[in-house]
């Protein structure tokens, strides 16, 4: 049985690499074979993860993967350890890979690498998730971002060049700065000192900028507007996962999270969320609304991650993070559906309704969509900081809480405005030509939101079980 568990862990780590090799070996024009194979591997990967998670919940020991390479004086130790934190990262990576393979069909022959890239990126992520040290993981993640620039550069958007330039320069500089700060070991428990606080923040910024918190990522809006409809979601999911992982490692390095740091991160996140909501309101573009919601909840996740040193907050934030990505995939897929059917006037109103229903999963009604993870968080925050005994109601957290609520209402306004603009849009002929296999819209109306809602109920339950363990 122990051997079987070890094989499962090996399968989980190495299946993306095997998939990359196999997909690359298939000729470029044989799209159907590539599609089938990638779906098979994505499903296999997710099933393997489910098995690993169940083994983990049963308290059975999973042997670690460890290799030591010796080259004269250079010792490279390659080690992967599963713990109660990175197991969720493996889960969301495999889930987003599967969602990408099943929801966004690649029907065009851009290049051979386009089909293999999601697997390659997932493999890089899997290797990084096994690391406990930010000094090891950050350079690998930084270099992996170059693959994204390649994907953006290959799209047909007008401003892709400047997007790559903006994003590349910014991410590369903040990564370099964080690595330099990490080398000097300035980070420490005494975060009340301004120098130490600033250096800690410098280490957090690579994570925050990947989570697309606009104050830390000025390229955000340009990126949203210039990613391809089919490749954008996976690209954003990759950025989000890496950002969250960097923040997780940085959080683990801090022994105690001082209130000054949590307030500072909270203020950055609140300002970012207001920024996002105002930009989304003036944008009018139905395509980018899920992206804005994604970064809005990412702000909340980051703020929550540094709210307190208690491990309970980590579980709350990871639950919101995973739910956010799941609904993001669903809503972007629904927009993809709109693009395919927009030219058909009979189905226009139906498509609008479907898109509305998918976006309404993001407005935060308890029990529906993101609300299943959001309301436990609001309850915890309110009971711990706002209404706890001995604290005044009108403190800094109350102001932040009100700003979050305001930003959420503004995002609802953005949904309203984008739906109205969607009325007057005409069909896009290029999508009509390239995507021949239209998806059926019958199941997309009630069944898909119901399915997503059930997944959203399962995620907090899974995190609750893991936290209990």
């Amino acid at each position: 049985m122990q051997l079987l568990n070890t094989v499962t862990l090996y399968t989980l780590i190495f299946y993306p690499l095997v998939a990359t090799i196999f997909i690359t070996l298939i000729p470029t024009f044989d799209i159907e074979s590539k599609k089938t194979l990638s779906r098979f591997f994505a499903l296999l990967g997710f099933a393997t993860f489910c098995r690993v998670f169940l083994i983990y919940l049963d308290n059975k020991t999973l042997s670690n993967i460890s290799y030591l390479i010796k080259l004269s004086n250079l010792n490279i130790k390659f080690e992967i350890i599963l713990n109660n934190q990175n197991i969720f990262m493996y889960g969301i990576a495999s889930l987003s890979l599967m969602a990408n393979m099943y929801l966004f069909e690649l029907n065009d022959t851009k290049s051979n690498i386009h089909q293999a890239v999601p697997f390659l990126i997932t493999f890089i992520l899997y290797i990084c998730f096994g690391q406990n040290d930010l000094r090891v993981a950050l350079p690998i993640l930084s270099i992996a971002t170059f693959i994204l620039y390649f994907l953006i550069g290959y799209s047909d958007k007008a401003k892709r060049g400047s997007t790559i330039f903006f994003m590349g320069v910014f991410l590369f500089s903040v990564d370099a700065l964080a690595l330099i700060v990490l080398q000097y070991q300035i980070m420490g428990p005494n975060t009340s000192s301004p120098t130490i606080l600033a250096s800690t923040l410098a280490i957090l910024i690579p994570g925050l900028s990947r989570l697309c918190i606009p104050l830390c990522a000025p390229f955000m809006r340009r990126l949203f507007l210039n990613v391809d409809e089919a490749e954008g979601p996976f690209l954003m999911a990759f950025l989000q996962i890496t950002g969250f992982f960097i923040l997780m490692l940085a959080r683990n390095e801090l022994e105690i999270i001082q209130e000054s740091l949590s307030i500072l991160v909270g203020i950055i996140c609140v300002l970012s969320s207001l920024y996002i909501s105002l930009i989304a309101t003036s944008n009018f573009d139905a395509r980018t609304i899920p992206y804005y919601f994604l970064s809005f909840y990412a702000c909340l996740v980051s703020s929550l991650l540094f709210f307190s040193s208690e491990i309970y907050f980590w579980y709350l934030s990871v639950s919101l993070f995973i739910t956010n990505i799941v609904i993001f995939f669903h809503s972007t897929n629904t927009y993809f559906l709109i693009l395919q059917h927009r030219i058909d006037p009979e189905k226009k109103s139906m498509m609008r309704a479907i898109y509305f229903l998918s976006l309404s999963l993001l407005v935060g009604i308890p029990g529906i969509g993101i609300g299943s993870s959001l309301w436990p968080i609001i309850y915890t925050l309110a009971s711990k900081s706002l209404l706890s005994k001995g604290k005044e109601l009108l403190n800094v957290w109350f102001v932040m809480f009100s700003s979050w609520a305001l930003a959420l209402i503004l995002l609802s306004l953005a949904i309203v405005l984008s739906l109205r603009v969607e009325l007057f849009k005409r069909g896009m002929r290029e999508y009509q030509n390239t995507r021949e296999n239209k998806k059926t819209i019958g199941r997309a109306f009630f069944l898909a939101p119901m399915f997503v809602t059930i997944i959203c109920w399962l995620i907090p339950l899974a995190t609750f079980l893991a936290a209990k363990k």
């Binding site: 309101t281 109103s349 479907i354 309404s360």
Partner: protein, 425 residues
């Protein structure tokens, strides 16, 4: 036995509405489906009669709850002698809608949501059911709607509903943090005098929902038939839902103190508003919306003064008979003439203006922000300013560089050496 009957009572309307919703769109006005859904609803009626026997004759309360794992939220049924009548009126409303309306699925759906709201024992589920029902209703209206004005109004209403949602859920959260429960039976035993914030939030959220729907739909009269139908379905759902919410939450909102009197004065002002808007209505279509609004305001007045019988009668009238108004709209023969008359009679309305101002102003703030602050932050602070700084550092190189590569390399080496010596100092 009671558990089994309550399950039947719970499941039958769900099944009937599901049937209507799933099949009706594909078979236009099919009588077989109507009769089938009535047959499915019959067990619900019989179980209601059984329960009415307990609640009315024996003056008891049926209270079946099932707690969710790990969370203190309770599913189940709460019935007393008043709620039994409400349920009866809602079921009658559903049946009348199924039989007489040309587009029954939406109104029947509204009825179902109201049914779930009135029997839910937990306040959190009560408001959640309302919000989810509202979302499903808006999406099903959007799937039929082709008129711009219809979509305009329904989406505006969506925004106000979300604002009210946030208010009411935060209010409930405060109550939950203080008392650890949201069950009506438990909260009715607790003194709630000191929770002014949550009571005010709850009251405001319900009133906001009610006024927003009537104000935003009042100028919908110049739209097509489809929009009018949808508007009525939406109005009935929102208003009946609000009334049920108000009735169920009245034990929290109205306590013997001065704040409750303030609420009562506000309600009287709203009644006046409803009365005048009914008097000054000139066209036939908006009269219906205004009449529902007036009846609803009278019902909340009755609830606020604890006149249970009067409020019961008024809510039953709204919930049972007003869904019937949507088929009446369909029967208008001289629609074109009416439409012209409506266009002439259209007036500027203060209340709809009040609801549109925050939307417009936040949109303009967002425009200003994205054009001025956003551009300044992304394009100037993070793009142009570093470019200028680096340009200044390169300035000597730029001045001397004239295309000769060797000379440029030489100059750059000199510059690097000079920067280095400057940095060392």
């Amino acid at each position: 036995m009671t558990v089994l009957i309550s399950l039947v009572f719970f499941a039958c309307p769900l099944l009937a509405i599901w049937l209507i919703n799933s099949i009706f769109e594909y078979s236009n006005n099919n009588k077989k489906i109507k009769i089938l859904s009535l047959l499915i609803l019959l067990p619900a009626f019989f179980s209601l009669l059984f329960m009415a026997n307990i609640t009315i004759n024996k003056n008891g309360i049926i209270h079946q709850t099932y707690q969710l794992p790990a969370i203190k939220i309770y599913f189940g049924i709460l019935l007393n002698n008043y709620i039994t009548f409400y349920v009866l009126s809602i079921l009658i409303g559903i049946i009348l809608t199924i039989f007489f309306s040309n587009q029954p699925h939406m109104s029947a759906l509204c009825g179902l949501v109201n049914f779930l709201m009135i029997i839910s024992p937990d306040y959190f589920l009560l408001i959640s059911a309302y919000s989810v029902g509202n979302l499903i209703l808006i999406s099903s209206i959007l799937s039929n709607e082709t008129e711009t004005i219809g979509i305009w109004n329904i989406t505006s209403n969506f925004l106000w509903q979300r604002i009210s949602d946030l208010m009411s859920f935060i209010a409930l959260l405060i109550i939950y943090i203080n008392f650890g429960t949201l069950l009506e039976t438990k909260l009715s035993l607790i003194e709630l005098n000191h929770l002014e914030w949550s009571r005010t939030l709850l009251f405001t959220s319900i009133i906001l929902r009610m006024i927003s729907i009537t104000s935003l739909h009042r100028d919908q009269a110049d739209s097509q038939l489809n929009s009018l139908n949808n508007a009525l379905a939406n109005t009935v759902m929102v208003i009946t839902g609000c009334l049920i919410m108000f009735y169920r939450l009245s034990s929290i909102i109205f306590v013997d103190d001065s704040l409750s009197n303030v609420f009562r004065v506000i309600i009287l002002l709203i009644v006046l508003h409803a009365f005048f808007s009914l008097i000054f209505t000139r066209n036939k279509e908006t009269i219906k919306t205004n009449l529902i609004y007036l009846l609803a305001t009278l019902a909340i007045t009755a609830i606020s003064w604890s006149q249970n019988i009067l409020s019961l009668i008024l809510i039953c009238i709204v919930s049972a008979f007003f869904p019937l108004l949507s088929p009446l709209v369909n029967n208008i023969q001289n629609y074109r003439k009416t439409k012209i008359a409506i266009k002439k009679a259209k007036k500027w309305s203060l209340s709809s203006f009040f609801f549109k101002v925050p939307m417009r102003s936040s949109y303009f703030i967002a425009e200003f922000f994205s054009h001025v602050v956003g551009t300044f932050y992304t394009n100037i602070v993070f793009y142009r300013a570093p470019q200028i700084v680096f340009g200044l550092i390169q300035l000597p190189l730029r001045l001397f560089h004239n295309g000769n590569l060797q000379r440029s390399i030489l100059l750059s080496l000199i510059l690097m050496a000079s920067y280095y010596s400057f940095w060392r100092q």
